[in-house]
């Protein structure tokens, strides 16, 4: 099911066209919460432009922490993350790298605000601070946000508060916000885990289309069906280390289960 937006004609506004190759390179990442055993042990992998990379593993296995490190929200004990060959900008108080979009598990949308305002938030890094503080968003950004919303099928919901939307619609708003960042990489944590089967397939088809246009989509999941259907590459984390890093077509479900459970 790669039909939704998979063509030049249906280019998703905001999706960055990146030369095929490594979009994000993760090298020897180690992480531990204070005084606890490391939950990431030398994690190394590449995610490629135009591909969906799914990270599998048991709950509490460090998948969310890994994504937060890749976003720069958490500093690893050791290791490097590179985006298109340049180090990821990282720092608690500093601005984070907008080339890496991050969709947390609960989406992190501002519920009381309109869909359009939430989507425009994605363009804040390229909007002047003073201008944005007064709510004076460039008209071009608004047009772009509206175009993305139309492409994602929720153009008519732009003025509604996010809290009035269904789960699937909110997921689309989160995708739209990330596309406003013109991302090289989109990180999505347990992206469709709270949706029904039909809606989760719809959203994954949409996500697949975004990836097809050159974005590296890295997502965590515990749903093997989704991985088999939509992933180009699967990575299994077990005991904090990479147990499997393989093109999805080269590994069967039984092998994945064995790798996850050990």
């Amino acid at each position: 099911m790669r039909t939704a937006l998979h063509s030049e004609h249906n280019h998703v506004p905001g999706a960055t066209r990146v030369t095929p190759g490594t979009a994000i390179a993760v090298r020897d990442l180690w992480f531990a919460y204070r005084d606890a055993a490391p939950i990431l042990r030398g994690v190394t992998f590449d995610a490629y432009a135009g591909e969906v990379t799914m990270i599998l593993g048991e709950s509490g296995g460090g998948k969310t922490t890994l994504l937060r490190i890749l976003k720069g929200l958490v500093t690893p004990l050791r290791g490097e993350v590179e985006i298109l060959g340049n180090p990821l900008k990282r720092g608690r108080m500093g601005r984070l790298d907008p080339r890496v979009a991050y969709i947390p598990q609960q989406l992190g949308l501002i519920r009381s605000q309109s869909v359009l305002t939430n989507v425009l938030t994605g363009a804040l890094a390229r909007t002047g601070t003073l201008r944005s503080l007064f709510g004076l968003m460039p008209a071009g950004h608004t047009r772009e946000a509206e175009a993305i919303l139309r492409t994602l099928g929720i153009g008519e919901k732009a003025a509604l508060p996010v809290q009035t939307l269904s789960g699937g619609e909110r997921q689309r708003v989160a995708i739209a916000r990330s596309l406003m960042q013109h991302p090289t990489v989109i990180l999505a944590d347990e992206f469709v885990s709270q949706l029904d089967v039909v809606t989760s397939r719809e959203i994954m088809t949409l996500a697949r289309s975004v990836a097809d246009q050159g974005v590296a989509l890295v997502m965590t999941t515990h749903e093997l069906d989704l991985a088999r259907e939509f992933a180009d590459r699967v990575i299994v984390l077990r005991d904090g280390a990479v147990a499997v890093d393989s093109p999805a077509r080269e590994v069967d479900e039984a092998a994945l289960v064995r790798a996850i459970r050990g």
Binding site: L109, S112, G122, L124, S132, Q181
Partner: protein, 266 residues
């Protein structure tokens, strides 16, 4: 024959201890004095008789003073709000960093330590007698109080929202404007109303120290033994406080129910 007494439970021991401590404190404060209490009860009886009927001739005067009291409370709350909001944002770790946030929180605690009445005295000294001193005194206390309430509300918002907005590459001010303030807006509004409600009661006694409002008349009627006029002033204060309390509670409930509704849906 061995008699086994039932074990004394820690709860009973604690109650005995607290009761003993209370008696000791009352004695120390001079209240464990039978004749004194009897004399006090007689005086209260006389006082109560003099309170009724209320003196309606002062109604216009005390109603005008009550309006001034509400104005003091409103202006004090709003000025306090204007100071509290930026300070509460500065007291947020993510917006300003831990050292600055800790310093601002300490400053807010310091401001809060001084009661509104004492702030009013400070401003009576600074700007002279009248409602202006009351407004400034109340504004200072409200700033400390609301600053703490708002800072706590900012700390309580969904961390995923903050992380998601930080993730787009925003600066600190943009983070405050586009994530923290909208997420905490309902709580901030509800708390501001609560503080206004509190300030109406607090400003009723600011007149005791010459800082305007109905307190000036309350004290004056007590000192001149005009207890029937005092009763009228108390009734007007009571009516105003009840009306404002009820209105405020209803509006706050509405904001808080919207907040909890949106949280539940997320």
């Amino acid at each position: 024959m061995n008699l086994r007494l039932p074990p004394v439970r820690p709860g009973k021991l604690a109650m005995l201890g607290v009761s003993g401590a209370l008696l000791a404190v009352l004695w120390h404060l001079g209240l464990a004095d039978g004749p004194l209490l009897a004399r006090g009860a007689r005086n209260i009886g006389v006082f109560a008789q003099d309170l009724v009927p209320p003196d309606t001739s002062v109604l216009q005067t005390v109603a005008g003073a009550m309006v001034e009291t509400i104005e003091i409370a409103f202006a004090g709350t709003m000025l306090g709000f204007a100071g509290a909001l930026p300070l509460a944002l500065a007291a947020n770790d993510t917006v300003s960093g831990r050292p600055v946030a800790a310093a601002v929180r300490t400053f807010l605690a310091l401001v809060r330590t001084i009661p509104a009445l004492l702030w009013a005295i400070v401003f009576v000294v600074a700007v002279g007698l009248g409602a202006g001193a009351g407004v400034l005194g109340l504004a200072m206390y409200s700033m400390g109080y609301m600053g703490k309430l708002f800072a706590d509300a900012f700390d309580d918002i969904d961390p995923e929202v903050v992380e998601a907005v930080r993730g787009v590459g925003v600066g600190r001010l943009q983070l405050a404007r586009f994530a923290i303030l909208p997420e905490a807006a309902n709580a901030v509004l509800a708390q501001t109303l609560f503080v206004f409600e509190y300030n109406v009661r607090a400003s009723s006694i600011l007149g005791f120290v010459g800082a305007g409002g109905i307190g000036f008349y309350l004290l004056g009627y007590v000192q001149s033994l005009q207890y029937d006029a005092l009763m009228m002033a108390i009734l007007v204060t009571f009516a105003a406080v009840v009306v404002i309390d009820q209105a405020s509670v209803r509006i706050r409930r509405r904001f808080l129910s919207v907040a909890s509704h949106t949280s539940a849906r997320s």
